[in-house]
């Protein structure tokens, strides 16, 4: 096991009827809030009314900042920062999924400095302070509700960049599985795929093979993401399915899976971010294409690791002495088939992306590879992986 620091101070309030605690959790941090959310769906479901009633009841004055898009945009973050500064707000309340929470974090960091917030993402400035963030989660997917990361797309440069800082952990996050009953099948599936990708990234890129504690934890998360996703697709109001998917997605990227693995990477996200940035593909849909392709490429480097995962979570039903190569191949096929089963796309073609675009996508991804110091990924390597995404 490698040395690590694990420090996750986010308070999770999980379960039925927990949304009305947002007021009391937030007012302890500030009395003038920026309410960040996305489109109309939170209004239609009644969640908006619940949240604003709780905030008002706690005595919080609110300024609204709606309109966050999936793959959230820098321009919209800048507008939020301007509102915070204009109204001298002191707490950011996010009601939404990963895009909304990530936007809230970027606003929280950008509101306490004079320079432009993108300088944090481009590495020119580092975060030294941030406003407190609370969240009400509406989508089981990104894990942003219990981690310090954020991903924002620069509308001008078409760069989708992400990074994290310990000051960006939400102070409190409210996870009511019933809030996700209305998530449509495609986004339910994309969320599960995102959670699976978060686990796979660390599981596969670990530098240390001697981390059985983390390995068993990660295998359990992947197994549960798949099982609970299927339950939710079968019955969108299956509380247990929604609850298990929600908690799985949160745990999939809260720092615990990667603690002790050494410097892990996000190569699949690195490539997917380019698909999202260039083609406005939903993040989970892009991952659904990239995961099998990346695994097919990675198999040439470490088929034993893929086989270990496969033997644990997809054990063959007979006792034949299969080789690692056989199990690894089978594991990739199982993932790909399962993504197809839950109606995730599994090729660039299904995303209407022509293979002739591969060089251009790889060039875009390379910028993020450099920023994330994934130095083993060249233009050629990324093109090779993308050519396996079919």
């Amino acid at each position: 096991m490698q040395n690590f620091v694990f420090h996750n101070p986010t308070k999770i309030i999980f379960g039925r009827n927990t949304v009305p605690t947002i007021g009391s959790e937030s007012v302890a941090l500030g009395r003038r809030g920026l309410l960040v959310y996305g489109q109309n769906s939170v209004r239609e479901t009644g969640l908006y009314d619940q949240v604003t009633a709780s905030l008002a009841g706690a005595g919080i004055e609110m300024v609204e900042h709606s309109g966050v898009q999936s793959n959230p945009m820098l321009g919209h973050v800048r507008e939020g920062i301007a509102k915070v500064k204009e109204h001298n707000l002191n707490v950011i309340i996010a009601v939404g999924g990963g895009s909304v929470i990530d936007s809230a974090k970027a606003i929280a960091a950008g509101s306490v400095v004079d320079h432009d917030v993108w300088k944090f993402f481009s590495g020119k400035k580092s975060i030294k302070n941030a406003l407190p963030v609370t969240t009400v989660l509406t989508l089981a997917a990104s894990g942003s509700e219990m981690n310090s990361g954020m991903v924002i797309t620069n509308d001008t440069t078409q760069e989708k960049f992400g990074f994290g800082h310990r000051l960006l952990h939400p102070k409190a996050s409210i996870l009511d599985p019933e809030v996700t009953f209305t998530v449509p099948p495609d986004y339910t599936a994309y969320g599960a795929i995102d959670a699976i990708a978060h686990v796979l990234e660390f599981y596969m890129t670990t530098r240390d093979p001697d981390t059985p504690v983390q390995d068993r934890f990660m295998e359990g998360l992947i197994e549960n993401a798949m099982n609970s996703c299927e339950r939710c697709l079968k019955d969108p109001c299956d509380y247990g399915g929604r609850a298990n998917l929600m908690w799985t997605a949160t745990l999939a990227l809260n720092g615990l899976t990667g603690a002790g693995l050494g410097r892990v990477g996000f190569p699949m996200h690195m490539i997917e971010h380019s698909l999202s940035a260039l083609y406005k593909v939903p993040h989970g849909a892009g991952l659904s294409v990239v995961i099998p392709g990346w695994l097919s490429w990675y198999r040439r480097h470490d088929e034993a690791r893929i086989a270990m995962l496969g033997r644990r979570i997809f054990p063959p039903s007979d006792l034949q002495p299969y080789t690692d190569a056989q199990i690894a191949e089978r594991t990739i096929i199982i993932f790909k088939n399962w993504f197809g089963k839950i109606e995730g796309p599994v090729s660039l073609e299904e995303l209407d992306i022509p293979v002739t675009d591969i060089p251009q996508i790889a060039e875009n991804a390379l910028a993020l590879a450099r920023f994330w110091r994934l130095n083993e990924y060249s233009q050629q390597t990324i093109e090779e992986i993308l050519s396996l995404c079919r």
Copy 2:
């Protein structure tokens, strides 16, 4: 899944050469420290020198409070509280295992009130404040380094009582596996058994069968406690073995395993505490006797749960369609044999406790059963369980 709040703000600093960070971590919390530790072992290994050099280097003035015993005593806690009050100290630094850390927490809580600290344990007063605690862990066992619990024995009444409060989470805990290279085989084994017990308690007493995320996590922890313990017994300086055992023991009781299970209990600890209190048995040794006995009794109530665990972590090597009853029985035997293999006692007789004492032990345990609201445990039930501890 049941509603829950999960909030664990302890900062974990894990790995080689991390002990020298104790000074910088502690000085941020206070400049006048009480240094709590046990016997001479921390002096003999050089750990004492490392810690005090770091604390002095950070500018912390220290008052010493050594002599914590395993199964720590109320009288010694009271002496520590008197020192804090006399010298107006503002941070508690624990260097040791669970007993030392538990003592530090009790001192941290008792130092900020005028009444006797035992009133917290007897339920007559509740904690509203506490001094900050930092720790350097020397034994993989209790999990106290990353939770809010503590167990103290009242020397006068022979009550071994435990409870927790969110303000008692250590602010920072330093876990260097190399520090545990010198832990002798018996305490290495007892520590692993303690960690296994912590997981089994929740796994078995859950009120909710629909928690697969937690179930897979717990199964992995038990598997790893066993495997890493064996590695440590084979080679006490196997860094990976020590590291995996240490992280497993910490995760086994940091709140994550039980989150979502509803009100879980500690029935095995409830009975073991009486063995420790009445016979000065090491906690892990007592658990080694109680676990198989309790499981044999519990099997009559929920053999399916024991079988689920067994199928996951001790899968039969053939594909026979064994019944739950068969698998449950086999699982209990595997645990009992394994405890024997690592030289844990597996009967009251091996602890030199006569079976004629069973009524008296049960009477002592009953007081804790009532305090912990384990209302399904009567004198007769506890006697029945103890009679299976052979």
